[in-house]
């Protein structure tokens, strides 16, 4: 066990510390300095990379599932939408706000916000289906003032009437272009499940005599990876499109 000893101070040091304490006490009595923000009337200015509520743009999403794969809390589920595509949904009861999903999205379909104060009545409500991820959640806001903490030896509260933007613009990610390839043709059944699963008809299968010819058209393939996941023999894989030599 470690015992914490009272520090041994010289008399002069001790007197100085006592005087400091008395001075601080007197100062607080005359002009109190609080560092508490008066939420919800005041809004704290948050950094642009603050990790809050996540928004989703379905028109950008290519259903690659990367967000659901990367999510360390298993909070993202891919749901089948009416257009037969899979889109993410987030369970905020599980989400740990790491924003790995946003970072990993190759097409910037997921975006961060500075919203951190959504209220839910129960756990079920925290499950947020795709439809609800498209727009920010409804929050009745009363803020009039933005408060910013400035560190300058001491903490200084800088207040301004201008409200901080809740939806920071993020730079669009450089899209990683991928396409499907067969990595083990000698283990292929040639069952054609890939052909049927492909949303853009990039995979074709043709039977010629006692042979089946399979082909992936990389002009059409946009790397959604659905064939990779549906292949029963796991012979397909996504690879990055090789950089064109300059």
């Amino acid at each position: 066990m470690i015992k914490i000893k009272t520090p041994k101070l010289k008399t002069l040091e001790s007197i100085k510390l006592h005087l400091d304490a008395l001075f601080t006490g007197a100062k607080e009595a005359i002009k109190p300095g609080t560092i508490t923000i008066e939420y919800p009337r005041e809004r704290r200015k948050l950094p642009d990379n603050f990790r809050g509520y996540i928004l989703f743009s379905p028109e950008r999403c290519k259903s690659c599932w990367q967000c659901s794969f990367v999510c360390p809390a298993n909070a993202i589920k891919m749901e089948l939408a009416s257009n037969n595509r899979y889109y993410p949904s987030i369970d905020y009861a599980k989400c740990i706000f790491c924003h790995f999903c946003i970072d990993t999205c190759p097409v910037t379909a997921l975006k961060p916000t500075k919203i951190h104060d959504v209220v839910y009545k129960d756990l079920e409500e925290m499950y947020t289906p795709t439809e609800l991820m498209v727009k920010p959640p409804k929050i009745v806001r009363e803020e009039e003032v933005t408060v910013e903490y400035v560190m300058d030896g001491d903490i200084i509260l800088k207040k301004s009437k201008e409200l901080d933007e809740l939806f920071p613009e993020i730079e669009p990610h450089v899209e990683i272009k991928e396409h499907s390839v067969c990595i083990d043709p000698e283990s292929c059944i040639a069952c054609g499940i890939c052909e049927h699963s492909c949303p853009v008809e990039a995979i074709t299968r043709e039977t010629i005599g006692q042979e089946r010819h399979l082909r992936i058209d990389i002009e059409k393939c946009y790397g959604c990876g659905i064939c990779v996941r549906s292949c029963p023999m796991h012979v397909l894989k996504l690879v990055r499109i090789r950089e064109e030599k300059a």
Partner: protein
């Protein structure tokens, strides 16, 4: 997307060809298989078709065999089942087959049906790092076969996992999952039908050739459908929950319970021997790396037929580590059963045998 098994420089191709068998009828592939193999009683119940079926429509049932109930809607006519079925084109195997060493042995580490050498070989292969996973046929409390994925030597001390279950087990359908997660390779234990089915799968699909590293085969006269065996044994007064061992030796089926034993001649069970077994001639599991049986060695020992280099390597390791005691084999007894099983060739109508087989026997 990262691929964990990218240890070998994988080919990446955008165009490839796959050979498919020539169907005998115009209907979907499943119907071809059903008409030629299942309805004719040729099916060995190895479940290779259930393994390969990409829509997972083919199932093996505990009471009658292989079926694809909703095939009309679900069969996608891929012909995978025809490719892996070893009886759709049947080349019956028999005799003792090729081997490097024939010896009787008894494991000092494990308890099994006989000398627990099946368990010992797999345990040693795990220890040596040849495989990191083995598929075993264990059982539930009523002796229903249950597949176990063994990953450590310790798991093999469970006596429900070693020992013979006289019922068909769906070993091959487990391969797909095992192959995905293995790093070093997998080991498989099976009866001659399972092993022959597995070898066919390996021939057709390369990944299984690469990743299945050790195949331990069992000697086998016949197997049973679980439901039929159970009904039969219960009629004889056996309580499946109390059963501690079942065995067939010297023409007798012996069911051992903690305080009693029920035995009767196996001949009596002829009525429940599946047709597929009546049409099988392979007693010693000639395609395995190592075959293990009970006949041919004294009580408590297993007869071990080491056929391939990998099998020999493991046997040498067992010797070096002194994991087993060894003894001599009595080949005459094995020979008797080989001949007995070979006679079943007469149960296979000539039109179902491959040309290759016919040519071979004419010589």
């Amino acid at each position: 997307m990262s691929n964990t098994s990218s240890d070998t420089a994988a080919v990446e191709t955008l165009e490839w060809k796959v050979r498919i068998p020539k169907k005998r009828i115009k209907d979907k592939a499943w119907m071809d298989l059903k008409k030629r193999v299942i309805d004719t009683g040729l099916c060995s119940h190895c479940s290779a078709c259930a393994f390969v079926c990409p829509v997972q429509g083919i199932i093996s049932l505990p009471d009658r065999g292989i079926d694809f109930p909703d095939w009309e809607e679900r069969c996608i006519d891929c012909e995978g089942c025809l490719r892996v079925c070893h009886r759709w084109e049947y080349t019956p195997l028999s005799d003792l087959g090729e081997y490097i060493e024939l010896i009787a042995a008894k494991s000092k580490r494990f308890k099994g049906q006989d000398g627990a050498m099946v368990t010992e070989f797999m345990a040693s292969a795990l220890e040596m790092g040849i495989i990191d996973r083995a598929i075993f046929v264990g059982r539930d409390e009523e002796w229903r076969p249950k597949i176990y994925h063994i990953r450590s030597v310790e798991q093999l001390r469970d006596t429900r996992i070693s020992g013979t279950k006289y019922s068909y087990a769906s070993v091959l359908p487990e391969l797909k999952e095992a192959i995905r997660v293995t790093k070093k390779g997998i080991g498989v234990v099976g009866t001659p039908c399972i092993v022959t089915g597995l070898r066919k799968i390996q021939k057709e699909f390369k990944i299984f050739k690469d990743k299945v590293k050790l195949v331990v085969g069992l000697f086998c006269m016949e197997n049973f459908y679980y439901d039929q065996l159970r009904a039969y044994l219960e009629k004889k007064g056996v309580d499946m929950r109390k059963l501690v061992k079942m065995d067939i030796t010297r023409g007798k089926f012996i069911a051992t319970m903690p305080d009693s034993e029920i035995s009767f001649p196996v001949k009596e069970m002829d009525e429940i021997v599946p047709h597929g077994c009546e049409r099988c001639t392979d007693f010693t599991d000639v395609l395995a790396d190592v075959s293990v049986g009970s006949v041919g060695s004294k009580v408590g020992y297993s007869t071990v037929v080491v056929r391939t280099e990998i099998g020999k390597e493991i046997l040498d390791y067992i010797r070096e580590k002194r994991y087993a005691e060894f003894s001599n084999v009595i080949p005459d007894v094995i020979d008797k059963l080989i001949k007995l099983k070979k006679k079943r060739i007469k149960n296979i109508p000539g039109e179902y045998l491959t040309v290759a087989y016919k040519k071979d026997t004419e010589k």
